[in-house]
Structure formats: structure tokens, C-alpha cells
């Protein structure tokens, strides 16, 4: 866990180099201004030190050109910081399409993780090197935050709402993760370890012990029938409700004319608050499932709906190994 550079933690994801270069840029700008201003203060302090008790300074009232200069230069530098920072952030908030999706539920004070094939972990997260990984984050109680310093990523885990975060591990190893949003008594111990493995090892690990752990997709499928979703949502689209095949990841047109991207948060909202966003061409018939599903139920349903794609998400580790593109 020791880092090579003294002040930088391990660099173990695609975001680490970008964040570190951004950091370096800001440090350079800051050092420049700090040194310039400190130097000016020190020089003036000694050079213009009061020589006699009654001496007064030269009455200079200001200089318009200087004022403009020191408004414009910081403004330009600010824009540079903003633009660069924005680029990294937008990249981070916008996960690529073909990700390995892992479900993470935070609760006081532990993390429950579910791999795509259903394998569960607690306070541990195993991921393959080189693959784009997306974490779908949910909370059962208060706000938490999933933070992996070596990956330079974190995201709040907010109850009643899905957040997602993604990264591509670039270096196999063992990295600590933390809960970084204060969540009560044991906030400081609500952490664990991320294990980044070679893809083949990861596949082996995944298939290692599936015993008993239900696959979220199959669980979701079962729920889909149990909760009578399937009575309205027919796969051929002839029902009273839209077919859910291929909905995930696409763009949905709503009755009020706007469009939304069908991501995890949208699916969650469609289930819990079905009348908030009505799909164009359909009646607001769908009941709300607020208060009737646990976080894990919702996650399974989401996983199932996501699996209704042209190519289903592999239930075993087999297809997972392909190194991520992008």
C-alpha cells in the first residue's frame, strides 16, 4: 500500500492519472501565486520599512491597468481549471455503455456487494483489471459515500435514490476503500478492501463459490412474475405497458415531450414513482411500488430489466473477461 510518490496515493484506475495531473496543474498555479505574493510582501516589508517615526507613505490611490490585469489573468486561469476539471468530471459522471455492473448497498455500518453473477461480498469488492466497472449505489438508511483513494473516485450513496460511479482498474492489487460521508457512530470503520485481479483470476474467483448465492437477474425475473409486472409488461409489447426489452441504456420519450436516458435511476424511479415520468403513448396505469420492495428487490428487478437486452449479461464470469474498450 506504499506509494512511490510521497504525496500521491497509489494510482490504480483510469481516473488516477487524470486527477493527479489536474492536481499538479492546480498546485503549480497556486505555488506561482503564493510565491509571487509572499515575495512581494516580504520585499515591500523590508524595503519600505518605516525609516523615521513620523514618516508617511507615498499616496498612491490605484491603477486601473493593474486592476484589469489582476482581474483578467485569474479569470483566464480559472476558466482553465474549470474546463479541465469539468472534462474529468463529465467523464466520471457518464459511464460507458458496456460496463461490468456491480450492486453496492450501504447501511449503517457495512457495505453489501453483489457481483453480476450473484456472488455476494461484505466490505469487499473484487474487480478485474482493465474492465470498465460500474457500481450502482443504494443506501438502506442514511447517506454514505463510497470512496477508493487509489482510484481517485467517490460517490455519495443516498437513500431513496440511485447513484452510479464507474472506473477502470489499471493495476492489480489490494486497495482500501472508505465511507466518506459521515453516517453516524461507526462511520470511520465502515470501509473495506477492493481487490483488483487479473481477468482470468477474477473469472475463477467469480465462479468459485456461486453456491447458494442467487443471481440477481434470476431473482429479478422471479420478482417480475411475483409482483405481476409481467401481466402488463409483455415482452412483445402488445400489453398495456411498454415492452421492457432493450429499454435500458436507450432514450425514452415521455408524454410531456421531453426525453430521458433510461439508466438505473430512471428504472428505479419508474418502479417506485411510476407516475412521475410517463412514457409517451401510454396511460399512467402502472401502480407505484413505493414501500413494497426492499432495496435488494429493486436492485434485482433493475438487474433483470437491464438484462432484457439483445445480448443478455452473462451470468457467469465467462463474457466478463474481455478487456474494456473505450
Amino acid at each position: 500500500m506504499q506509494s512511490q510518490l510521497p504525496f500521491y496515493p497509489d494510482q490504480a484506475s483510469n481516473f488516477a492519472p487524470s486527477v493527479d495531473s489536474l492536481m499538479t496543474f492546480l498546485i503549480l498555479v497556486s505555488v506561482f501565486f503564493s510565491l509571487a505574493i509572499t515575495a512581494a510582501i516580504v520585499i515591500f516589508f523590508f524595503k519600505f520599512h518605516r525609516k523615521s517615526k513620523n514618516e508617511i507613505g507615498v499616496p498612491i490611490h490605484g491603477d486601473m491597468r493593474l486592476e484589469v490585469l489582476w482581474i483578467v489573468v485569474p479569470a483566464i486561469l480559472s476558466l482553465a481549471m474549470f474546463g479541465w476539471g469539468a472534462a474529468v468530471y463529465v467523464d466520471f459522471r457518464h459511464a460507458p455503455l458496456d460496463t461490468l455492473d456491480i450492486y453496492v448497498v450501504g447501511k449503517q455500518w457495512m457495505w453489501k456487494v453483489q457481483q453480476p453473477n450473484g456472488r455476494r461480498e461484505i466490505n469487499e469488492l473484487h474487480v478485474p483489471v482493465g474492465r470498465d466497472v460500474k457500481l450502482v449505489l443504494a443506501s438502506e438508511d442514511v447517506i454514505h459515500d463510497f470512496f477508493v483513494p487509489a482510484f481517485r473516485v467517490k460517490m455519495d450513496v443516498v437513500p431513496g435514490h440511485y447513484n452510479t460511479m464507474w472506473f477502470r482498474p489499471t493495476k492489480a492489487g489490494h486497495y482500501e476503500f472508505f465511507c466518506s460521508q459521515y453516517c453516524g457512530t461507526n462511520h470511520a470503520v465502515m470501509g473495506g478492501w477492493v481487490t483488483v485481479m487479473e481477468p482470468s483470476e477474477y473469472a475463477a474467483w467469480l465462479s468459485g463459490s456461486t453456491g447458494g448465492d442467487a443471481n440477481p437477474v434470476t431473482t429479478g425475473e422471479k420478482l417480475f412474475a411475483e409482483k405481476a409486472c409481467s401481466t402488463c409488461h409483455l415482452s412483445n409489447g402488445t400489453g398495456r405497458a411498454p415492452s421492457l426489452n432493450g429499454v435500458y441504456g436507450g432514450t425514452v420519450r415521455l408524454a410531456d415531450g421531453s426525453t430521458v436516458t433510461a439508466d438505473e435511476a430512471y428504472i428505479r424511479e419508474s418502479i417506485l414513482l411510476s407516475n412521475a415520468k410517463i412514457v409517451a403513448g401510454y396511460q399512467p396505469l402502472m401502480p407505484s411500488f413505493q414501500g413494497q420492495l426492499t432495496e435488494e428487490d429493486i436492485m434485482s428487478l433493475t438487474a433483470y430489466i437491464k438484462s432484457l437486452q439483445s445480448q443478455p449479461v452473462p451470468a457467469t464470469g465467462a463474457g466478463v473477461i474481455a478487456p474494456g474498450k473505450k
Partner: protein, 246 residues
């Protein structure tokens, strides 16, 4: 204009004193805008999220009471404005008369509000006090609803329940509506009560003939406050009563 009245020590002139008092009042009202603003924001977002439940819950409040109260309150604003005018032109008796009229109208408003609160209490629509949107439909005898209203409520509530997927969701979300309803109207009523206190104080002074063409700042400032409270209601009325009456 030449002013009279008591000059407090920190001021140089009476004009300065009056200017300060008026400026202070306006600044205070701008604070109040933001104070209510937080509630309005909370309301807006929840109303958007839970549109169906909010409009259903809103329909369980009686429109007539709200409309009457709007008229009463705007009326009281008129009498308040008239008392300011009376003070400005030096009609001492009229000042007292209009102040009392304002107080009475304010009292009527609060009285009606009390009736409305009482109804909600009976119907178990008060959050935290055995809140249950289904209370009336389940205990028809307990609520003083007309049979046809009850019937309508049954139908609408059934539909809503289906839509929301169960009674729990309906109760949770309409409890949000009523929390905001009581929060907003309660805070407004509190302002009215404070206003009524101020009016009493003015009436006492007015009866002693203190307000003249040269000295009327207190009437004016309480007037500003009273009108502000009226404005809050002007927004509360459509937001809480008129969501979805069609």
C-alpha cells in the same frame, strides 16, 4: 414634511428617525420572503414528485373556506390601507375605526382557519396525530362529510390507492402534503397572530389620539407588515387549495 413625535437619542432629526424605521421594516420583510421561501421550495419539489397524491389531498380541503378567507384577508388589507390613509390626513377617529375593522377581519380569518383545522383534526388529516387518509371512508359516521362528498372521496381514493400501489404510499405522501399544509398555513397564522398583537397596540395608541398627520409611522409600518402577510396568503391559496379542482 414637518414631523412630530418623540426623538430617540441616537437620531438627529425626526425625518431620519422615520426613514430608518421604514427602511428597517422593508428589510425585515425581505427577510420574511426568504423565510417563507424555504417552505415554498420544499412544497414545489414534493408537489412535483407526488403530483397525484398532492392534488387528491388538496381536494379534501374545502375550497369555499379558502376562498372566503382570501376575500376576508384582502378586505382586511383594504381597511389597513384605509387606516394609514386616515392617519395621513389626520382623521383620528377613522384611524381607530379602520384599525378595529382590520383586527376584526383578521380575527375572522383566524376563526375560519380554526374551523378548517378542526375539520382536518376530525378527519384524521393532521400529521403525527393518528394520520390516516382513509379514516373518513372507513368511519363515515365520524366525519361531517355530506354523503355525496363521501361517495366521491371513496371513488377518488380507491383510484388513487390503485395508482399508488397501496395505502401505505398514499398515507406517506399525503402526510407530506399535510405537513406542508400545516407548516405553511401555521406559520402564516402565527404571523397573523403577531399582527393582531401589533394592531391591538396601535388601537390603544390610536384611541389616545396619538396618530396625527405628523406622526403615523407605526401605523404605516404595521400596515406594511400586514400587507406582506396578505401576500403570503395570496400565494398559499392557489398552491394549497387550487391544485386540481377540475
Amino acid at each position: 414634511m414637518h414631523r412630530t413625535g418623540e426623538l430617540s437619542g441616537q437620531f438627529q432629526t425626526l425625518e431620519q428617525q422615520k426613514e430608518s424605521a421604514t427602511l428597517g421594516m422593508w428589510l425585515f420583510l425581505s427577510t420574511e420572503i426568504l423565510f417563507f421561501g424555504g417552505l415554498f421550495l420544499t412544497y414545489t419539489i414534493n408537489r412535483h414528485t407526488y403530483a397525484d397524491v398532492f392534488s387528491y389531498s388538496s381536494r379534501t380541503i374545502k375550497l369555499s373556506w379558502g376562498a372566503i378567507n382570501t376575500v376576508v384577508l384582502i378586505g382586511s388589507s383594504l381597511t389597513m390601507a384605509m387606516s394609514v390613509w386616515s392617519a395621513e390626513v389626520g382623521k383620528k377617529k377613522l384611524v381607530t375605526f379602520f384599525l378595529i375593522a382590520t383586527l376584526v377581519l383578521g380575527g375572522v380569518f383566524l376563526g375560519i382557519k380554526g374551523i378548517e383545522y378542526h375539520d382536518k383534526f376530525v378527519e384524521h388529516h393532521v400529521p403525527g396525530l393518528g394520520f390516516d387518509m382513509y379514516y373518513c371512508t372507513k368511519n363515515p359516521g365520524a366525519c361531517n362529510l355530506r354523503p355525496e362528498d363521501l361517495q366521491k372521496e371513496r371513488v377518488e381514493l380507491d383510484e388513487l390507492t390503485k395508482k399508488m400501489g397501496g395505502e401505505t404510499a398514499v398515507n406517506a405522501n399525503s402526510q407530506l402534503f399535510f405537513s406542508l399544509y400545516f407548516g405553511m398555513t401555521g406559520l402564516h397564522a402565527l404571523h397573523m397572530i403577531i399582527g393582531a398583537g401589533l394592531l391591538l397596540w396601535l388601537i390603544k395608541q390610536s384611541m389616545a389620539g396619538r396618530f396625527t398627520t405628523q406622526y403615523n409611522t407605526p401605523v404605516e409600518n404595521v400596515g406594511l407588515y400586514w400587507h406582506f402577510v396578505d401576500i403570503v396568503w395570496i400565494y398559499l391559496f392557489p398552491l394549497l387549495y387550487l391544485i386540481d379542482r377540475h
